[in-house]
Symmetry: C2
Subunit: 414 residues, 2 copies
């Protein structure tokens, strides 16, 4: 497959590419001297010094210690300035709203979550509340430049327009979320994005998770709805209309139970949260009480499994195996190096991820394909908003000139 | 997802990128004047003239007619030189070997296929014969520069080393095919590649098929084995160890028939050629006679279907529906704009592609996802080797300086 340059590069594009390269190398390798940067890049020391000066002025790099060893005069280390720029991720869940901010090293510097009933509040009041939370988050990062805001939504998103096309669990359809937030926050619309929760979770795993840097990685959400975020060759796969990763409605069993989509035997009917609660609880069981926090319900299930409760163990084993069958299909199509299981899957690793792993290994086309790793997410329930914050930062990593220089007038949000 | 520059660009890389850009624009838009190229690129006319001179010297572009219309002095048109460079695709099938050459416009300029029993010949004699055919193909393109050779194989390939890891239908395992060909042909090893047939067929559809240019496209082979070539965002998805697209072993029915891989209900057991022959023929039926050419057997099936033979129609309908269920899974994972069905699927379009299309539309997650197009390949059984020839050309499109200048000594194959 040819990899063609999108368009001829000019001097300004060349400069932006070189600025972005310096940031990328410092993110990957930590602090380096100008001389080391020159050697790695093939650029002259003078060019490197100019690039470093510009990045310093844009608060993306700063002077670190002094390089040890090597020949000649010891050089001043250049390192990421983690105080200058922030990415902000917001999250809309059925029962909560949340916000998180990350610095340029990918560390979370602020995080807040509030219980919120999106279904009863409706669209407008939900966006009001989300803007309020975002405003507090931006106030927390004052002094740093907010590179952008990316909102995670459990649904299908037109990312180009920042519109939520369809989010069945929120009962949202055609909601212009980016517009709504920009207006309420007085934040530039072109720095607000909206994306699907599975896509952003995959981004978070790729950029900051336990398997970060894995170029071929699939993230599977574990919730009432099941979705996947797909990274292939280091790039997020969105598909032609942005609907890639809708694995919850893969047809797994022609005689299986009825799905909310109207068909039978979709993967979601086998491994979604509803299937879990149906399989291991009787009416009145606190585990299936929707008013209890999900973490508490997971803890109850873990406790029962640890005490050898047969109904619990049987249900978990059945779901773990079905999880493995579906994951093996995704593995056959995409051949990822890693499948990260998030949400409730990650909360019950011994009982869900282990059986899934066995099933995937047994179903590998060739022995080598069995080298795919199936792991639980370490980011837990914050993966999606962390991915949002990291996605917001990527705007600056791709083009560092987006951050105003210190001398320039800062375009702060209202 | 950040799209980062791989490394800082330097002057030479910039020049190569600009040369590649000129080729790309001429391939997409046909002939253009230097002035038009300057406007499109933002480069100066002088720079464009230097680029065109270099590409002319490398026999990649040539002078065409004179530009009509526009202001000022009419300009000389620059167009692709389709005589200077060729890409060669070879193909190893169970019962045949083949070669094809394409020019820089993607037109096939030479094609040869010979019946050959790979299983009885064994590895070494097969490579001998393949080298003989490749030698004839190269002799046909003499005078043009052979950009490279890419061999299509129905199996799992280590593309980095040009080694066929596993091709069950050929009974090949760990065959160093690129090495074997380079030695026999005296052709530079670094210009010989080996790749999976589904990947190369997808490449052919993307570059030269009826749906060319579709950035999100999946090709499904219709043969005894079922495989997929996946293009996402304009790039081939190989997966972490190159085994993406192994869709034939997706688990479709836990109670289904035994598969050659040892499991039950793989997609291949439902829609592979063996399933077709099993469903619509009785013992002694010429349709299932392996000694007849596949095209002849397909013609027999078509004729029976056209005459309303109930057994044939019933079997085709059942396979078409199962084809659609599997395609819908691939669509749910990848959300392509187009699924191209090749091999025998394309030979029976009315009876297989139409039912598959209906099934896919019925299984779309949202109405918009039903906009995926399901079409038969127009490239027929030559898709894989055409893809190989195009892949071989891509080396030159990516870096036009690979082609020696006219003044340079041509490194012709022995």
């Amino acid at each position: 497959m040819p990899v063609m340059p999108e368009q001829p590069t000019d001097r300004a594009a060349l400069r932006r590419a070189n600025l972005a390269w310096v940031i990328r190398v410092l993110r990957e390798q930590g602090g380096l001297s100008r001389a080391q940067l020159a050697v790695l890049s093939g650029l002259s020391k003078a060019t490197v010094s100019t690039l470093v000066a510009e990045l310093t002025s844009r608060r993306l790099v700063r002077a670190g210690g002094v390089a040890a060893g090597g020949q000649g005069r010891p050089g001043q280390i250049v390192e990421l300035d983690t105080d200058g720029v922030r990415g902000v991720g917001l999250e809309v869940g059925v029962d909560h709203l949340a916000a998180t901010s990350v610095d340029t090293a990918g560390n979370v510097v602020a995080d807040r979550q509030v219980p919120f009933d999106v279904l009863s509040a409706g669209v407008e009041r939900t966006i009001d509340k989300l803007a309020e939370i975002a405003g507090k988050e931006l106030a927390d990062v004052v002094g740093a430049y907010p590179a952008g805001i990316t909102v995670s939504v459990p649904g299908l998103v037109d990312t180009g327009r920042g519109v939520v096309r369809l989010a069945p669990r929120l009962r949202w359809r055609e909601v212009p979320l980016a517009d709504g937030l920009a207006g309420r926050l007085g934040f530039p619309l072109d720095r607000i994005s909206v994306d699907n929760d599975a896509n952003l979770s995959a981004t978070a795993e790729f950029e900051a998770g336990g398997m970060r840097g894995t170029a071929d990685l699939v993230y599977v959400t574990g919730d009432f709805g099941i979705g996947a975020g797909v990274i292939a060759g280091g790039r997020l796969v969105r598909g032609s209309i942005g609907y890639a990763g809708e694995v919850g409605h893969m047809s797994m069993d022609p005689m299986g139970p009825q799905c909310s989509c109207g068909r039978r035997g979709c993967w979601e009917t086998q491994v979604g949260l509803a299937a879990l609660f149906h399989a291991l609880t009787a009416p009145g069981d606190p585990v299936s009480d929707p008013h209890r926090p999900i973490e508490e319900r997971m803890a109850l299930i873990r406790s029962r499994a640890e005490h050898g409760d047969q109904r619990t163990l049987g249900a978990l084993h059945q779901i773990g195996a079905a999880l493995g069958v579906g994951v093996s299909i995704v593995v056959n199509v995409l051949s990822p190096a890693v499948v990260v299981l998030g949400g409730y899957f990650a909360a019950l690793p011994d009982w869900l991820i282990e059986p899934a792993r066995i099933e995937v290994a047994a179903r590998a086309v060739v022995a080598e394909a069995a080298t795919v790793r199936v792991v639980g997410s370490e980011l837990g329930f914050t993966a999606a908003r962390t991915g949002g914050a990291l996605a917001a930062l990527s705007r600056v990593f791709d083009d560092p000139t987006q951050v105003p220089e210190r001398s320039e007038k800062t375009e702060a949000p209202a």
